[in-house]
Every structure is written in structure tokens, then in C-alpha cells.
């Protein structure tokens, strides 16, 4: 009755584990953060998922430029769409958390600004695609822009926020996810539950959208 692929069942299991252990598991007691340290499994995991989805989108864009196959273009745009969704979720969950941890939802923090800029760059990718009528040109120019958009993720999200003073952990050159900064109980739930779970969810949603797009393409070519 329930003929689901192994990785979809794994996604369900991992996310159930993340949500149960995320609230019932032990966490260090830190001032200011208190219990919201558990946001690691939700807010931070969104960004990890987004990076994976954008990377896969990039791979498919490069593949499209090499092979010219429409399937690669469809996968590139659908993975970018899902990446954008997780980017928005990351910004919103971050703002909700910041409202209570930092006093207001938007503090013009370098990482918040960087994430907003990265999101705008990917929105521009969608606008660019929709502005080109010819489908081959749309795919080719879109693929080239996708490569630039991916490259821009690194200065906006990973490099500049770590170099400057920031409310986020990791500012002034001290990355916060290293072995001495992350509690070992949280590390297990984060790297073996949250990150793979949310990533598989993103991939599942993308695969559904891709299959739907393939169906549409097939019907159109039959008419």
C-alpha cells in the first residue's frame, strides 16, 4: 500500500527523530539563548538544506550547458525554486528567533543582510528566466546566471559575515560550528537528524515538482 522509496521513508524517520529529540533531548543551558538553542535543528538546518539544493541546481545548470538536455534545465530551475523556499524559511525563522533573542526581528546584522542579498540574487534568476521567451535562450542564459548566483552565495553568506562584527555566532573570524563550540548531544541530532532530514525533504519536494514538469512537457509534445 505504501510503496515509498527508501530515502523518503528515511526523510520521515529523520524528521520525526529531529522533532522529538529536538524538544526532549538535552541541551546546554546558555544565558540569553535559554531553550531557543534548539533552533539549531530548525533555523540553521534550513540554511544547510538550502546550500545542498543550490549546489544540485548548479550541477544541473552546468550539465545543461554541456549537454543541452531539457531535463537538466528543468531540474536546475526546480532545485533553485526549492532552495529559494528554504532560504525564505531560514530568513523568517531567523527573524522570529531574533525577535526574542536580539530584541527585534531585523537588526541589519551582516549575516541577515547577506542572506537577503543572496535571496534577491536568486529572485533575479527567476525574473531573468521568465523575461526570455525563447526556451533554449531561457535555459542557456538562466544556466549561466545560476552559476554566478551560486558563486555569490559565498561572499554574502560565508565570507563577509565571518569577517565583520556580527550578532550571529561566527563573527570576527570565529566559526561557531567547530568541535569545541557545539555540544556533542546537539551535534548528533543536528548532523544525523536535522540536516539530512530537512535536506531529504527538500529533495523530495523538488522531485515531485520535477516529475510534474516532465509530465507537462510530455503532454505538450504529444499535442
Amino acid at each position: 500500500m505504501l510503496r515509498l522509496s527508501w530515502w523518503k521513508l528515511l526523510c520521515i524517520t529523520l524528521l520525526l527523530y529531529t522533532c522529538i529529540a529536538g524538544f526532549l533531548g538535552g541541551v546546554p543551558s546558555k544565558p540569553i539563548l535559554n531553550e531557543t538553542i534548539r533552533n539549531l535543528y530548525f533555523h540553521v538546518a534550513m540554511w544547510m538544506t538550502m546550500m545542498v539544493l543550490f549546489t544540485v541546481s548548479l550541477v544541473h545548470s552546468i550539465r545543461y550547458l554541456r549537454t543541452g538536455k531539457v531535463s537538466d534545465d528543468i531540474k536546475a530551475v526546480e532545485f533553485a525554486n526549492s532552495g529559494i523556499v528554504f532560504c525564505i524559511l531560514g530568513l523568517v525563522t531567523g527573524a522570529m528567533w531574533a525577535n526574542y533573542a536580539w530584541g527585534k526581528p531585523w537588526s541589519n546584522d551582516p549575516k541577515q543582510l547577506g542572506a537577503a542579498i543572496a535571496l534577491l540574487i536568486y529572485f533575479a534568476y527567476l525574473v531573468l528566466r521568465n523575461s526570455i521567451i525563447d526556451l533554449d535562450k531561457r535555459a542557456r542564459i538562466g544556466a549561466v546566471y545560476n552559476i554566478f548566483a551560486y558563486a555569490m552565495l559565498f561572499p554574502t553568506l560565508w565570507i563577509i559575515p565571518r569577517m565583520v562584527e556580527s550578532l550571529h555566532p561566527g563573527g570576527m573570524g570565529n566559526p561557531a560550528l567547530n568541535s569545541s563550540d557545539l555540544d556533542s548531544r546537539m551535534r548528533v541530532i543536528f548532523y544525523f537528524g536535522a540536516v539530512p532530514g530537512w535536506t531529504l525533504l527538500g529533495i523530495w519536494i523538488t522531485s515531485l515538482r520535477t516529475r510534474l514538469r516532465f509530465l507537462e512537457e510530455k503532454k505538450l509534445s504529444n499535442i
Binding site: 520525526l16 524538544f23 526532549l24 543551558s29 544565558p31 514538469r213 509530465l215 503532454k219 499535442i223
Partner: protein, 101 residues
């Protein structure tokens, strides 16, 4: 130059005062407040249950969608309803324009 020095020293003294104000509120000797009360009276399980309910709804929706798409893929003649209606209405030859990104 004089005005700049004045502004900077004002700002600096405000910062110092703000820092001392923060010290009054944040007593680092006390243990940070955690949700131990919620765990003691079992309400934490309500939180978990609510989150699991939302997750369950999401998974049921995805599984349902997966099944529908699988059915469409196995039937070679099935056409998604809105696509065929849209094509009939617009009568456009370049029908791919109707499919948005």
C-alpha cells in the same frame, strides 16, 4: 574635527552606560532559565505532539501528491486538467508559454 570628537565621546559614553545597564540585568552567576517547569508538568509533550501533528500533515500531503503523480506517470493518455483547459481557452500555438517557471 571638534564636533566629530564631541559626537564620538558622546557615543562612547552612551555605550559605556548601556554596557553597565546590561550588567544589571544579566547576572552571570545565576543559572540560565530553562523550560524545566514545562518538563516537570508534562506540557513539553504537548509541544512535541503539536509539532508532530504538523509534520504528519505535511507528510500525508506529500505522500498523497506522490501517489497522484505516480498514477499520472503510469497512464500514458492522462492530461492534467488545468493544462488542457488553458490550451483550449487561449488557443495559442506556442503552448509552452503557458507553463510558468
Amino acid at each position: 574635527m571638534k564636533r566629530l570628537r564631541f559626537v564620538v565621546s558622546c557615543g562612547f559614553s552612551m555605550l559605556v552606560m548601556a554596557g553597565s545597564y546590561a550588567q544589571e540585568k544579566l547576572n552571570l552567576d545565576e543559572k540560565p532559565e530553562m523550560a524545566d517547569a514545562m518538563r516537570a508538568n508534562g506540557k513539553i509533550y504537548v509541544v512535541v505532539a503539536v509539532v508532530l501533528l504538523v509534520l504528519a500533515g505535511l507528510f500525508l500531503y506529500l505522500i498523497n501528491l506522490d501517489k497522484k503523480i505516480r498514477t499520472l506517470e503510469s497512464k500514458p493518455d492522462a492530461v492534467p486538467d488545468d493544462t488542457s483547459n488553458r490550451l483550449r481557452q487561449t488557443g495559442m500555438k506556442d503552448v509552452r508559454r503557458n507553463i510558468s517557471n
